[in-house]
């Protein structure tokens, strides 16, 4: 498809752009800035509300809000630079915006990075002609524990409400009243409780919506933004960590158009304060007596670690979190596998390279015509940004089919007779998404994609939503350390627990019960105390250099934003490795260089890039369809779907601003299932079976399929399989 180029003259400069390019972008390509407030192409069609972009367009008698216009051949535009009329128009808008604006820049968090302040400074009048009372209102209003709203500063550009309505589609942040009385509000001042709420802070072009975490904490001239990648879920949104005085103060998006389009979930945006949790471990700890701990020096800690490793005589199992960097995993693997012959490691879930044959950027979801989501777990809970891509796809006209149980529907779709399977096969732009546990690391989905003929269709692809941020990268790195294989030891002499998620995992705890000794790497005392013999301080993704592989298979670069309060994992692994005559460099760059030769075709660390590219598809599709599906539910029982909520885990638990986002104690039911049981929305119900049952609130969810009951892990107790849901 060739792009039609058109010629546009802006301020006497001729530029050629693709037909349909926005005039704001067209002007930028000519080096001319047209000021805007409401214009934000990611929010949908331009609305032309703020009137800041008024320009003269030849052939039109009135000034035009050019943000609503696109480049057409022969168009002649005059901005405020060359048109007195346009300048007068923009002056007028600026004056009107400022008429009721408090001009409290000295105490405004936006000060120094505020488009309104910049424009006022550059073009605004030196003084005001407004001598009447300005509109004053109560402020700031807590839109949520994480977001504050100053309605006096608000210029009603409607970016935030458009985001809520047209991007996140949560419908919670709205404009109420009319005219000059219009204000941004939530329903009855209830908190804006939605997974993507924090984006409105970044969208706000003035200081109306600000982060409560960042309030009064920094000025643009005393901060640095470190470009890195979020390490809290397998999407790997590109971020900036705003640093001041060595501390992370806020997270901003760093728009990777193929990955995140500049959106962050609230976990990615607000959870960073877990770095400064009160129970953060900064020194090695050794168990004394039953539950006591004592701090010890690093030298002593390494001696102790060495002793524990040697004493285990190779009967070592390593429990990985899935959030280690590729380099950490490689370094640890090298130490344990080459130095001690300890080859056994467990990850929270399987990984597979089979999906590499069907790679696509996440942005391809938006361009799809048909998307099948396999599995009953909410996409937003497993990989939040994928949910936004799905919504964008539906708005763009794609059909989104939720197929139900992942394994069952995977087999069904692979069957040549299935109607949806047929459509998927026929579509040129079809996408499969696995949103459930136990996808065999994408292997099942790869088998299905292969059956559907996706291999030969560059527009079709598949995404498995893994449980961990970097499971794939870690598994590959661990495997690359050594060619030997060994069976899991019968008896576990030593369990090495790497990271907080592993330390918090009940399965890992169960392993620890079987282990004679346990070493834990963790950031938080709360997770390590009571069961580890030796605790080494862990670090966060914001404190590490290295790489992650996200769910697309994209290798992305983490940059250390904050210096950890203790030597990082690579540092002590390197030291410890020396004692076992294994050479492990203490720097991510050097570790990566070694590893890259083995698995990344020698890609230099420096070329991983700030906006990493997706590697090309591999050629050999593999994968295996899931086994036979479990039998259907017994009479009246619902199949339990448990899911790990987005707002859970060791980091979230330590962030006060995110507590309100944690899931309520509720069970989601399809309307038909609720009706059949006489259950109304919000009612208390009993969930369980003969052995165990407890009370939850029912939430009727019209988008849920029948036959299942969905509960967040933390409210599902030990339930599994099938449950009865009844009125108490």
């Amino acid at each position: 498809m060739s792009v039609e180029l058109v010629t546009v003259v802006i301020d006497d400069r001729e530029v050629q752009v693709a037909k349909g390019t926005g005039i704001v972008e067209t002007a930028l390509s000519a080096g001319i800035e047209i000021p805007v407030f409401c214009y934000e192409p990611r929010l949908g069609p331009a609305v032309g509300a703020c009137r800041m972009c008024l320009c003269e367009v030849e052939g039109m008698p009135k000034l035009q809000a050019v943000c609503t216009m696109t480049a057409q051949d022969g168009m002649v535009v005059r901005t405020a630079q060359t048109s007195a009329k346009a300048a007068e128009g923009q002056d007028a808008t600026l004056e009107f915006i400022l008429v009721n604006h408090p001009l409290d820049c000295p105490v405004c968090d936006k000060g120094g990075e505020c488009p309104l302040q910049d424009l006022t400074f550059r073009w605004g009048p030196g003084n005001t002609r407004m001598e009447f009372e300005k509109r004053t209102v109560e402020k700031p209003i807590p839109v949520s524990p994480a977001i504050a709203l100053d309605r006096e500063r608000c210029i009603l550009c409607y970016r935030c409400t458009r985001f809520s309505e047209s991007v996140a589609e949560d419908g919670q942040l709205v404009a109420v009243n009319r005219g000059a009385s219009s204000v941004i509000a939530t329903f009855e001042d209830q908190p804006y409780r939605a997974p993507f709420s924090g984006n409105v802070i970044e969208l706000c072009p003035v200081g109306a919506l600000t982060s409560t975490q960042y309030r009064f904490l920094g000025r643009p001239w005393e901060i640095q933004n470190v470009p890195t990648v979020c390490g809290l879920c397998p999407v790997g949104c590109n971020t900036h960590a705003t640093m001041r005085e060595g501390k992370v103060r806020r997270m901003l998006s760093r728009n990777h158009p193929e990955v995140d389009e500049g959106w962050l979930c609230d976990k990615g945006r607000f959870a960073f304060t877990h770095l400064y949790a009160r129970d953060r471990i900064t020194d090695p700890l050794r168990r004394v007596r039953q539950r006591g701990f004592e701090e010890l020096s690093w030298d002593d800690a390494l001696d102790e670690a060495e002793r524990l490793l040697r004493d285990a005589q190779g009967r070592i199992v390593t429990a990985l979190s899935g959030s280690e960097t590729v380099e950490q995993a490689y370094a640890l693997g090298k130490l344990l596998r080459r130095g001690l012959g300890a080859h056994t490691a467990v990850l929270p879930e399987e990984t597979s390279s089979a999906l590499d044959a069907f790679r696509l950027p996440l942005s391809a979801i938006r361009d799809a015509e048909l998307v099948a989501v396999l599995g009953d777990e909410p996409v937003a809970e497993r990989a939040p940004i994928v949910d936004l891509w799905l919504r964008a796809a539906r708005r763009a006209g794609a059909r989104i089919e939720h197929t139900g149980d992942a394994a069952e529907s995977c087999r069904r779709l692979a069957d040549g007779r299935d109607a949806l399977g047929k459509r998927l096969r026929e579509s040129e732009r079809a996408i499969l998404i696995w949103s459930a546990e136990e996808g065999s690391g994408g292997s099942h989905l790869a088998a299905l994609a292969s059956k559907l003929g996706f291999g030969g269709k560059p527009g079709s692809g598949a995404f498995h939503l893994p449980a961990t941020p970097n499971g794939r990268g870690i598994a590959d790195a661990w495997a690359a350390c050594c060619d030997d294989e060994a069976d899991s030891p019968e008896e576990i002499g030593l369990l090495v627990v790497s990271g907080d998620e592993a330390a918090a995992d009940p399965n890992v705890r169960a392993l620890a019960e079987r282990a004679e000794r346990v070493i834990v790497t963790s950031m938080f005392q709360g997770l390590a105390v009571g069961w580890a013999d030796l605790v080494l301080p862990g670090t966060s993704y914001l404190e590490r250099d290295g790489t992650y592989v996200n769910l697309e298979g994209r290798l992305q670069r983490l940059r250390r934003a904050a210096i950890p309060p203790a030597p990082d994992e690579l540092a002590w692994i390197s030291k410890l490795a020396e004692r076992f005559e294994v050479e492990v460099p203490p720097y991510a760059a050097a570790v990566f260089a070694e590893l890259s030769e083995l698995i990344y075709d020698g890609l230099p660390f420096g070329e991983v890039g700030e906006r990493a590219e997706l590697r090309t598809r591999s050629e050999a599709p593999g994968g295996e369809l899931p086994g036979e599906f479990a039998p259907a539910a017994a009479n009246g029982e619902l199949r339990l779907v448990r899911y790990r909520p987005l707002f859970s885990g060791p980091a979230v638990e330590r962030v006060p601003e995110l507590q309100f986002q944690r899931p309520s104690p509720e069970v989601e039911l399809a309307p038909q299932d609720a009706e059949a049981r006489g259950i109304r929305n919000g009612e208390a119900v009993t969930v369980g079976h003969a052995e165990a049952a407890f009370e939850l609130r029912a939430r009727i969810n019209a988008s849920l399929r029948t036959g299942i009951a969905r509960i967040a892990n933390e409210h599902a107790g030990d339930l599994g399989g099938f449950v009865e849901v009844t009125k108490p």
């Binding site: 709205v174 329903f187 929305n681």
Partner: protein
């Protein structure tokens, strides 16, 4: 809210290609059912019936003058004070109502019977001054008519 509200709203929605279009008639219905105003619960009910958030319903309702977001009296007296009515004495009509009712515009009598409001052009300019009593136009209404209007209202 009355039984079958959601069903009635869904019936309204049938008239439109997009059920969202039914929000205005649905809010109107909810207001009638709720005794003349829309409470937070009304927004929840309308939202549930149409698959919209209560916040959205409130955003819509607060845009239009005819949805009341606070309790109103049993009767509604609205005096047009736009220019055509004002030129021929609307203010004196309004004052007559204020005096008779003992309330200012925007307020409700203590007994909860009558809410007095001013309104923008009612569309009866040639037959001014226009007063709208419980959504019925009275054209023209003079200050002298006011006691009779209220007698009729309170009697009826």
């Amino acid at each position: 809210m009355m039984e079958g509200f959601a069903e009635r709203v869904q019936e309204l929605a049938m008239q439109y290609p997009d059920p969202r279009s039914a929000i205005m008639p649905a809010l109107h219905l909810a207001q009638v059912e709720n005794g003349g105003w829309l409470s937070p619960e009304s927004f929840e009910e309308v939202g549930a019936a149409l698959g919209l958030t209560p916040a959205y319903c409130q955003a819509i309702a607060s845009f239009y003058d005819m949805y009341h977001l606070a309790p109103t009296g049993k009767h509604l007296v609205e005096v047009c004070t736009n220019i055509s009515c004002a030129l021929v004495g609307a203010q004196r009509v309004l004052e007559a109502f204020q005096q008779e009712l003992g309330v200012r515009p925007g307020e409700t009598t203590e007994d909860g019977e009558v809410t007095l409001r001013t309104m923008e052009c009612a569309g009866g300019c040639g037959w001014a001054p226009v007063v709208v009593v419980d959504h019925r136009y009275r054209e023209p209404t003079t200050p002298e008519d006011v006691p009779a209007v209220l007698r009729e209202l309170r009697g009826g």
